[in-house]
């Protein structure tokens, strides 16, 4: 069916007309509010307070969500919102990595706020259409799209009975439908979920951009925490924005010269050094697959091990040489010369509903190769690409899917579940066919896939209650915390990274802190105080990207020459100064690098308080599964026996000679668990929190977020 016929069947539910307005120094100063239950569309002012305290992006998302929900609100209540906002720097074209959208909602997995940072053109085009944020509340009766025409000044809610649900088709259909010509397609961005959003709690959102060189719609993912599930629960099929006329000065920056200067300087750096540093332009984040394997950090068999002899079968060069067909690097927003976006074109699908089709697969990114592949013991690049494709089009978070599958494989191999329970799926490590079928079942809402799609936390409960599994063992090996599945790094030998995962706001995702190399390989943060300082500075610094519509990669995935002589090389001081400069260049403010951290600290602490308000956010919620801190099983211990025995001698003065492995596991575990608790003490202290993880009143006062409703949340715990 062609898109014109589909369009004919659209039913207009509401239309809103607005003045186009003008962006001033990075802000449109208003947000678009859409209530799907009431078919109500409104313009809301963005206040000076919001800009001062919350900056934009994730900060705006948190503020709107805070005001929309109560402590009782569940993810599938109509008052839950999905907020998309880019931030004041979002949409500048001169500096790499400045087109991100930040998505915020209450997560079905954690019951807490989830925030996700995603590429594609939606956030910038939304802003250029006149809106700092899009705030969606309520639920539609039937599938709808929200269409924003940023040149005409209209917003429409339309019922869409005929369009596909899966993203790789829906993205194409809507781009075709709303573009006036081939030339106009670059002005469209679509947000979609997929069929798995209807049946699992790990649904994601795809954000599109039109790749003019390939003449194809590309997908970038807001992956973590089940945002796509909330999207489908609201019966949203898609969001579409159309804006024609992107230029480098649309943000009306206070001083464009600062932005040009920083941007061109970084382009030159990337041109000069990327090929000899991280090869982002060649293979993107997948460049570290073999590096992680070499350092025993690549999760293998549900994080039991950190390397595997077959890892070379999924090394980055395999993808470069056989699958990644583009001759040219490409980014997910204009001006990103780091260009980590990759795609395998005309990849032939071998299973499922799209069997035989030639598709464009975005990726693989490191997380996908590690999670879908190594962690499940599947060292097959074609499985990785195919499951990557299906995860994206079905709208499933590849990280949660990988970690979930690894968990069920270990449960299967240890006899907790069997073929009877899995409906015939022999989910042993390395069984790519079974893993692929599990994925298809998630999209169909059938069989064991439907169970696995509820996430590890709910599966643990089910396995204990229904199948008599040992709760302690499942707690040890189920790699989730706060309800969110771990991302794909093995943190066992890095205490700082255990904290980097465990002491996050949204759950164990590495975007807050990735300290493994600093800690374990370079030994730059040996003491608890050093680690606590790193677990203060880096999460705060990295939070700032999400307030401003920025990507993290151009900060430290390209290293300037000046870093060789820098005082604190891990911070990449020259690039921090670039961010100060472009922030001041856009907003006309005069922040320095300390104020930058303060901006983040405010929002970070607000999010912590939000978690407390939702009944979590305390010390007990920051506990981690032991698999992330040390060897749980005899097999694990003995695989790295020399290392662990040596640690017992050197760190504990304990002689392992002649001792049973079980005994040694116990001694090592006691030590490592104590280390983690000491780390938590030090980090809470550094962050200005009580020993129970509650932000102190003086911390909230210092940050200027001691609003009465915030203080009310923390008071009972102080």
């Amino acid at each position: 069916m062609n898109v014109k016929e589909m369009l004919k069947e659209h039913k207009l539910l509401a239309e809103f007309r607005y003045e186009l307005g003008q962006i001033e120094r990075g802000y449109t100063n208003r947000s678009l509010y859409v209530n799907l239950s009431e078919h109500r569309i409104e313009s809301k002012p963005v206040t000076e307070m919001m800009k001062e305290k919350f900056i934009g992006g994730k900060g705006f998302g948190l503020w709107y969500l805070w005001n929309a929900v109560t402590s009782e609100t569940k993810w599938n209540d109509p008052e839950n919102e999905i907020i998309i906002s880019s931030g004041p720097l979002g949409g500048i074209t001169q500096y790499p990595g400045a087109g991100k959208s930040l998505v915020v909602t209450l997560s079905p997995l954690t019951g807490l706020v989830i925030d996700s940072n995603v590429g594609g053109y939606f956030g910038p085009l939304l802003k250029f259409s006149g809106w700092d944020a899009l705030e969606i509340q309520g639920k539609a009766d039937k599938d709808v799209i929200i269409f924003i025409d940023g040149n005409e000044g209209t917003v429409r809610i339309e019922e869409t009975p005929l369009e596909a649900t899966d993203s790789h088709i829906l993205g194409e259909q809507l781009t075709e439908m709303y573009a006036e010509s081939e030339e106009d397609k670059r002005n469209i961005s679509v947000v979609t979920a997929g069929s798995a959003g209807d049946h699992t709690l790990i649904g994601l959102l795809n954000f599109t951009f039109y790749d003019v060189r390939r003449k194809a719609v590309r997908l970038k993912q807001a992956g973590r925490g089940g945002i796509g599930t909330v999207f489908r629960d609201k019966k949203i099929k898609a969001l579409v924005v159309r804006f024609r006329g992107v230029k480098g000065d649309l943000n009306h920056p206070a001083d464009i010269s600062k932005i040009n200067k920083a941007g061109i300087k970084l382009h030159k750096e990337i041109n000069k050094f990327d090929a000899v540093q991280n090869r982002m332009r060649q293979i993107g984040t997948a460049n570290i697959i073999e590096v992680m394997n070499e350092y025993d950090l690549l999760p293998v068999h549900n994080y039991k091990f950190g390397s595997h002899p077959d890892a070379d079968k999924i090394a980055s060069n395999v993808f470069v040489e056989k699958y990644i067909t583009q001759g040219l690097p490409d980014g997910c927003w204009y001006g990103c010369s780091l260009s980590c976006a990759k795609a395998a074109d005309k990849f032939e699908i071998k299973t499922g509903p799209y069997k035989g089709q030639l598709v464009t697969v975005d990726g693989p990114e490191y997380e996908n190769a590690a999670g879908l592949g190594a962690n499940c013991g599947i060292f097959d690049p074609e499985y990785i690409l195919e499951s990557n494709f299906y995860c994206d089009t079905y709208g499933i978070d590849t990280i949660s899917f990988g970690t979930i599958t690894a968990f069920v494989m270990e449960c299967y191999e240890s006899g907790i579940i069997n073929k009877e329970i899995t409906g015939g799926l022999a989910l042993y490590f390395g069984n790519a066919d079974a893993a692929m079928e599990l994925l298809h079942q998630m999209a169909r809402g059938e069989g064991f896939g439907k169970i696995a799609g509820q996430g590890i936390r709910r599966m643990k409960k089910l396995f204990i209650e229904q199948y008599g599994a040992d709760p302690d063992f499942l707690q040890d090996i189920g790699m989730e915390q706060k309800g969110l599945e771990y991302s794909e790094y093995l943190p066992k030998e890095s205490l700082a990274q255990q904290g980097g995962y465990g002491l996050t706001n949204k759950g164990p995702q590495h975007d807050e802190a990735w300290l493994i190399f600093m800690d374990m390989v370079n030994n730059q943060i040996p003491t608890f105080e050093d680690k606590a300082e790193a677990l203060h500075y880096f999460p705060m610094f990295r939070t700032w990207f999400g307030l401003n519509g920025l990507c993290k990669l151009p900060w430290n995935d390209i290293i300037p020459e000046s870093n060789a002589t820098a005082d604190e090389p891990a911070k990449i001081p020259e690039h921090v100064q670039n961010y100060v400069d472009i922030f001041n260049g856009v907003t006309g403010k005069n922040i320095d690098k300390e104020e930058l951290i303060l901006q983040s600290e405010r929002v970070y602490n607000f999010q912590r308080v939000f978690n407390i308000r939702m009944g979590h956010g305390k010390r007990e919620d920051d506990k981690i599964p032991y698999r992330s801190a040390g060897p749980v099983t005899v097999e694990e211990y003995e695989s790295r026996q020399e290392r662990y025995d040596r640690q017992l001698i050197e760190l504990l003065n304990y002689n392992p000679e002649g001792k049973a492995t079980e005994e040694k596991i116990k001694v090592l575990r006691k030590y490592r668990e104590e280390q983690y608790e000491k780390l938590v003490d030090a980090v809470y202290k550094r962050r200005g929190w009580t020993n129970n993880g509650i932000p102190k009143l003086e911390t909230l006062q210092k940050l200027g977020i001691d609003f009465p409703e915030v203080v009310e949340v923390v008071k009972p715990y102080l």
Partner: protein
């Protein structure tokens, strides 16, 4: 195919080419707004920095705002250019130009007006076979991925 050729040893550093260029392009006499730039080389002579039409920038631009016209000259489509300046950062000759007064880059289009103003014959319009221009591109992209 047409492009601006150069013989640096003949340059006397009079800067008349820069003036001719900025006046033609921007109606202003300002070195920073000239597509051709005269500087100093390591040997104490003059260096002439100008586009050799190698076309590396065409591939750098992800939105096809750069193209080679029928005369072989690389040109900027200002209507679709979004001003990211990646072409400026990646030009092997550092000859793609940018000025803060403008939101798009600018470059030599081999119009030849500067050559007409050159008193020493250091710059001139030359005809170069297609293959040779592309060879420039290959040299320039060595090491690029």
């Amino acid at each position: 195919m047409k492009r601006l050729g150069k013989r640096e040893e003949l340059c006397i550093g009079c800067n008349q080419c820069e003036e001719a260029c900025s006046k033609t392009f921007f109606k202003e006499s300002l070195k920073e707004k000239s597509c051709i730039q005269i500087g100093n080389n390591a040997k104490g002579g003059y260096a002439i920095q100008v586009c050799n039409q190698c076309g590396v920038c065409i591939d750098i631009c992800p939105i096809e705002a750069l193209y080679r016209d029928k005369n072989g000259v690389v040109r900027v489509k200002k209507d679709i250019c979004v001003g990211c300046f990646m072409c400026v950062g990646f030009c092997p000759e550092e000859a793609m130009r940018q000025h803060d007064d403008y939101i798009e880059p600018f470059k030599c289009i081999a119009c030849g007006l500067c050559a007409k103003n050159c008193p020493s014959g250091a710059i001139f319009i030359e005809d170069v076979p297609v293959g040779e221009i592309e060879a420039f591109g290959e040299t320039a992209t060595a090491g690029e991925i």
